[in-house]
Symmetry: C2
Subunit: 418 residues, 2 copies
């Protein structure tokens, strides 16, 4: 069978399963999730052995230590995956929820009911835990899933998917509700992205290059974020201790993630006192600063920032710093250079806090809190399938509810249109 | 300037205007809409003169009488457009609405606030009233709009847009918030569809061919519906009078629209009594029936339905008819042949009504009411920018709320992540 036909067959099976899955009860879905958690832990030894094959291949291919680290499954990793499945089981089921209902003058009772999207394709890199996490969130939200992990994790991903599918069968859910693309050829991804009749949504998770390639090739809607160029604006008169603590946390606590701060904007009236204190803390933490001209007058040791630095997602201990005239310039900077991800203001001024919340059009906007809270779990969505920086369908962190849509349900008693 | 650069310039101006428009007050937007209504009526003579140029060209090109009818602006059409603008002014403004808010254990107050999508591109055919309707809905929801109408209506569309833009300027909103692509070249559409940085959403309105071409070429998310193959299932024991009245209304009242019924499914236990009565009514109304074998045993005069008839959107006085064993077969038929648009059940059975509402995954599902109610105005959304049969972002009729998204707003008091 050609790759094209194999992928088509997988997608068709997923579509067929999606009709059944949409009607599966919450208790049966939860039972499956809890059994999956048990079975993954019970099969830890097998998973680690399959993972070792991937690691051996990765070493042979000379992958970086960081990549191999992300690829590695340990006992604790498997326990973490299992705990994640239990947490998804504990979430409320979004399917079937009637979000609103109203009466029309002609007596029709019109409501909106949450239903699954149908079939979701996930395209991701190295981390094998995504296989279980994504499958669990799709299952909970009543969606069939087609998983296409990186070729470097193929043995691990196959081993995990085999266990998940076995449990589906055991509890009486079609095992084709969780599909894995078993071929490592790039052609398989390309074929998958053409199947708009069978797949409702594609979520790519990985670097910007992967995501751009998926968007370019896909005929299916894609929810994605390219990058997170997150800003904090320290207003005039901000609480200095709070500003220092939050700016430290946002840059240093985990610099390699998309909700870490990449650009610090400081009000000119507070820059002279705040920046030297901040720079001292950053120096101790090993953060390299790249400043605008005004910043470098205050911090002569800072490197000069080039125009392209304002667009950069460093994902590293590097920070761009700009002194601005006030809130208006800060907002204009974010509009021009931002990525619609996450921005925060540190302020004591009520009007500025409200203006920042209202006017900044990014997916997450905070007052007096770290950008690192832009995360589905931290915001209370229960779990996260990804973050969207495009405004269609979902904007910001996405939980299980964002894996559903609403249909109109209408109770009549004979109404016709005149 | 090349076409590419002209379109780019239009899109850039729209993006710049969108930042300002997102912050414009409800009262100023409403003032603009009401002034637009006044000005369109005041300029009726001018609009009809410009429209006459389009009609002259259309006659010269030999366009069908139906197309020329859709293209024609009369005094009553202009009054209808103006009334539509007044209705949009009267709708609640979705922008800024906080749809939910909750407290996290660490004290963060997290909410979701509606914001405009940004810049919306509308690609449509012949009817010049879409120019004003779409611009009004985008303005009300705080979005800049780029309008690309059919070349056959170019003079009418330009004349309408000129008036709308003049009013924007008069009330103090950037006139570039309403843009019209002034070139009739197809290249202009193609260039527009590449500008994912400047345009957030494309809504094509027109025939299936237009929509497929847009989806194929676009790098920007598209909300669309290809066709409406709407079903009514008449259950065993349904109220015969109600079934006759609703099935008549759904097929005959306006057969050329997407929410008209195209396939009638009848329970085998009711077919023998119901179908002859129904066929008699349809015969009087000039409806041609195409039936399955079982249907033709009861109605020997019906034409035989071929497999492809079950997929057809006739948009005409033709109806496919199938006798089914019961609810399960009806649902399976809709899953296989349906277009996710609108389906209705006529029943007295409580359990079947609930199962139909829960299990049919189309965007609008009705009990004991005509499929013709699948319409933004009829369902109480106030107005309609289009209907979506894809599940992403909006599913079913779309009103102004569907032209917004939500961002997360977070009130903190110094929280950092540990």
């Amino acid at each position: 069978m050609t790759i094209k036909n194999q992928v088509l067959e997988i997608a068709r099976e997923a579509r067929a399963a999606s009709y059944i899955l949409a009607r599966v009860s919450t208790s049966l879905k939860n039972k499956a999730l809890l059994r999956m958690a048990e079975e993954l832990v019970r099969e830890t030894r097998n998973l680690i052995a399959e993972n070792a094959r991937d690691i051996k291949d990765a070493r042979r291919k000379g992958l970086s230590a960081a990549m191999i680290d992300r690829l590695t499954l340990k006992k604790a990793t498997v326990e973490g995956i299992a705990k994640g499945l239990e947490e998804v089981a504990a979430l409320p089921d979004p399917v079937g929820k009637v979000t609103s209902m109203w009466r029309r003058p002609n007596g029709l009772l019109v409501g909106r009911m949450r239903i699954p999207l149908g079939v979701i394709g996930i395209i991701y890199e190295s981390r094998p835990n995504v296989t279980a996490d994504a499958a669990a969130l799709c299952l909970k939200s009543g969606n069939a899933v087609i998983l296409r992990g990186g070729s470097e994790a193929i043995h691990s991903n196959r081993a995990i998917a085999t266990i998940l599918r076995r449990v589906l069968k055991e509890v009486g859910i079609p095992e084709s509700a969780i599909q894995i693309i078993p071929m490592t050829d790039r052609e398989a991804v390309h074929e998958m992205l053409q199947l708009e009749e069978y797949i409702d949504l594609i979520i790519p998770r990985g670097g910007e290059d992967l995501i751009r390639a998926v968007v370019q090739a896909s005929r299916i809607p894609v929810i994605k974020h390219y990058k997170g160029v997150c800003h904090i604006f320290v207003d005039a008169g901000a609480d200095t201790d709070m500003a220092l603590t939050i700016c430290m946390n946002a840059k240093v606590q985990r610099p390699g993630v998309c909700n870490a701060m990449e650009t610090l904007l400081v009000h000119k009236d507070t820059a002279k006192t705040f920046l030297p204190l901040m720079a001292e803390k950053y120096r101790e933490a090993g953060v390299v600063l790249r400043g605008c001209k005004k910043t470098r007058k205050i911090l002569p040791d800072a490197e000069p920032a080039a125009e392209e630095d304002w667009y950069r997602e460093y994902l590293d201990l590097i920070l761009a710093v700009r002194v601005v005239d006030g809130l208006d310039e800060a907002i204009r900077h974010i509009e021009k250079y931002g990525s619609l991800h996450t921005e925060a203001i540190i302020t004591r001024d009520y009007a500025n806090a409200q203006r920042f919340l209202n006017e900044v059009q990014s997916s997450t906007v905070l007052v007096n809190a770290s950008t690192r809270f832009s995360d589905g779990f931290e915001l209370g969505l229960g779990a996260e399938i990804g973050i969207s920086t495009t405004k269609l369908h979902a904007f910001g962190p996405m939980g299980v509810e964002e894996l559903t849509t609403t249909k109109f349900i209408i109770y009549g008693d004979g109404q016709i249109r005149s």
